[in-house]
Symmetry: C2
Subunit: 181 residues, 2 copies
């Protein structure tokens, strides 16, 4: 569509164990120059898995969110480890966090958190044909697993503990994939 701005310079301006901040000096097509800061993320990104049982229940987890300092209701998710693809990471996270091994996983979409400030991408994955299974993840405490009827999705988006934008995106895509929208 539009011509991309030219990247004049880039360098790291802050770094912690988890986060790396990069500054970009850009020249736009109209000649205006501006400095932008963004968070750098791993290129392989993360997966967010929507597990749906054969009788149309979503499998959610309730996990402490240090960002918001409360328990958040959401879908199993985690980063794609080195050497993994989205499918393997989805199966692993679904077992570790939800307690089910999916017989089938399907990529629904790939979303960003904040296109202006973060390179991070999250792959949205539908997981079906679930069979109980377990594996130890890296959580500091056991996660509560919550079954939620798919057709009660309006109550889910109204729940004050369900707040992540990408979880809404995953729900919308899962509703489309299961013929509800």
């Amino acid at each position: 569509m539009s011509r991309l701005p030219q990247i004049l310079n880039r360098h790291i301006v802050a770094r912690s164990r988890l986060f790396t901040v990069e500054a970009l000096d850009l020249r736009f097509g109209n000649g205006v120059e501006a400095r932008f800061e963004r968070l750098r993320s791993s290129l392989s990104g993360a997966v967010l898995v929507v597990p749906v049982t054969d009788d149309d229940r979503l499998v959610l987890i309730r996990e402490y969110g240090a960002g918001v300092e409360r328990y958040e209701l959401g879908f199993p998710k985690g980063k794609v480890d080195p050497g993994e693809g989205w499918a393997e990471a989805s199966v692993r996270e679904c077992i570790e966090e939800a307690g089910y091994r999916p017989g089938s996983v399907r990529l629904l979409d790939t979303v960003t958190l904040s296109a202006g400030y973060m390179s991070h991408v999250t792959h949205l994955v539908l997981a079906e044909a679930l069979v109980p299974a377990s594996a130890t993840g890296d959580e500091p405490e056991p996660l509560e697993v919550v079954h939620w009827p798919l057709d009660d999705w309006r109550a889910l988006v109204d729940d004050p503990d369900f707040t992540e934008g990408r979880a809404y995106a995953a729900l919308l895509r899962a509703l489309q994939a299961r013929g509800r929208l």
Copy 2:
């Protein structure tokens, strides 16, 4: 629901012009201690505005996203400035970015980006009764404005330039508010 972990210690571990990273040392209910890192954000958060014309068209903008290094198709948005509430910030961003003054704004929901790692909140706002208006924002180049029929929302979520999770959430809420879902 669950008892909240105890925050034993918190301190800033990295800082740049835009980003502040905080480390939290937590003790969970089961006695396990763990260190978490998160991004700190302004408490007032951001607004994401869904402008809808009287004849059911969404008003979108196409803006360069430094995080993803391409032009992103999305809704007008921006941070809530000091002294503003979500309503004033929504009206201002709608004028600056979309070129319309809304006669009515309605808070649809408030979402997070990543509850585990960020405190950031975005207020999702429906803007209606639009009247053409203009004001200068802080953008380095003029934004392209795109009108999109609300009932073609399936094509919008399929568009590879529409990728932000919170934009999907806003679209879902706007479709509910306008009686489509």
